[in-house]
Amino acid sequence: MEIKVLGTGCAKCKSLEKVTRKAVDELKLDATVTKVEDIQKIMEYAVMRTPALVIDEKVVLSGQLPKVAELKELISNHS
């Protein structure tokens, strides 16, 4: 599974990356988490609110900062 956190560097974007890594660890998933900071790359996903979360090239979340539990549910529903 490939997870991307889209965000230009605002406080919420950093938190989302942290929360995502935590969720992946707790789920013991074999997934890579990368942060995409380049605005042109971010725009390819058509998100208008950052931070956004992309799982396997699909935008699942934008403009929100979910809690670890919610994120775990979101990620496991996707796999």
Binding site: T8, C10, K12, C13, I39, Q40, I42, M43, E44, Y45, A46, V47, M48, R49, T50, E57, K58, V59, S62, G63
Partner: protein, 342 residues
């Protein structure tokens, strides 16, 4: 299911408590100052403390209530829906709609770039996009609450109407100037690979929790600025003589409005920090137009936002943008100083 019910019941219980508390706030704060602290009326220190003890809970209570309501209203809007609504609208209608939607669409200045790009890519004219970007930060619920709380409804309505006019006309003029060539070249080359799927509809209870979430987030972030702003305001209220500022920034000097705007641009604050200070400016003799111009310039035109926009706009366009908005604010300020007496 029971959790969902709790949510609504809690709101129904809290609202009457809020109303009663708010109604007797002056009595409660006077009781604390005069009975509990045994302070003598009319002293500088007493007046300062009384102002502080009354204003802080008042503003915080208004803040919680209105942010909660606006938070619920905002669950019905999103940048994606706003973009859809603006697509294909004619110029002036587009400017009006963009400015109005700027008030209710959830917006954070850190998202200004993706939002700008998303609009431009959908073919929304630059001027309409600017209307949105001017209205969104300048007219927001926090500004509104504080204006109502400190100056009353009349000033709050005036602020919204004039702010809207600036957003509409500045956007209109910017479009007429045909400035597309001053947008960074890569902007028009970016193309989205996919579109977002439809959002699912929320239940009332989910919207209530979303409102609660927003209150926690915003109040958690700005309470300290409010406290500081009111503390400065309270100090000036008690210690600075009335009409102290009337000479330099009062009605007589035509240059007071442009001066206030020039001072305001580099200053960066959110509405929460600046309004208590503006309230004191007025109390000490600054005219309403000058004070409003100062406030609009501080929260509507800010250096950090300009720096963020620099990524997508060339400096010529940023210059024109700031110039047009500043000009609009000058006009509003002058109109108030000379025509309106409140």
């Amino acid at each position: 299911m029971s959790k969902i019910k709790n949510n609504i019941v809690l709101v129904l219980i809290l609202i009457p408590i809020w109303i009663i508390l708010y109604k007797y706030l002056q009595e409660i704060s006077d009781f604390i100052v005069f009975r509990l602290f045994q302070m003598t009326p009319e002293k500088h220190m007493t007046e300062t403390l009384r102002f502080f003890i009354y204003e802080v809970p008042k503003v915080l209570m208004l803040l919680v209530l209105i942010i909660f309501v606006v938070g619920i209203v905002r669950t019905y809007f999103s940048p994606e829906k706003t973009r859809k609504a603006l697509e294909g609208k004619s110029l002036f209608t587009g400017n009006v709609m963009a400015s109005l939607l700027g008030i209710v669409t959830p917006f954070c200045s850190c998202s200004a770039i993706p939002l700008f790009l998303g609009f431009v890519e959908a073919g929304i004219p630059l001027g309409v996009t600017f209307s949105f970007l001017i209205a969104a930060p300048m007219i927001n619920e926090v500004a509104l609450i504080l204006l109502i709380g400190l100056f009353g409804w009349k000033v709050a309505v005036i602020y919204v109407l004039t702010g809207l006019s600036i957003a509409i006309f500045a956007g209109f003029i910017l479009e007429k100037l045909k400035l597309t060539r001053y947008v960074a070249d890569w902007v028009y080359k970016t193309h989205a690979k996919q579109n977002l799927e439809q959002e699912e509809a929320l239940s009332i209870s989910q919207r209530i929790s979303a409102g609660g979430e927003v209150v926690r987030e915003i109040v958690g972030k700005i309470w300290i600025y409010i406290l500081l702003g009111i503390a400065v305001g309270a100090g000036a209220h008690g210690f600075v003589p009335d009409e102290y500022l009337a000479g330099a920034l009062g009605n007589q000097n035509w240059y007071s409005v442009p001066l206030a705007i020039l001072v305001g641009i580099p200053l960066y604050s959110n509405a929460a920090g600046i309004i208590p200070i503006v309230s004191v400016l007025i109390e000490k003799g600054v005219t309403l137009g000058t004070a409003l111009a100062f406030m609009m310039s501080v929260i509507g035109l800010s250096l950090p936002e300009i720096i963020i926009l620099k990524k997508v706009l060339k400096w010529q366009l940023i210059g024109i943008f700031v110039g047009v908005v500043a000009f609009g604010i000058v006009i509003v300020g002058l109109i108030f100083n000379y025509l309106v007496f409140i």
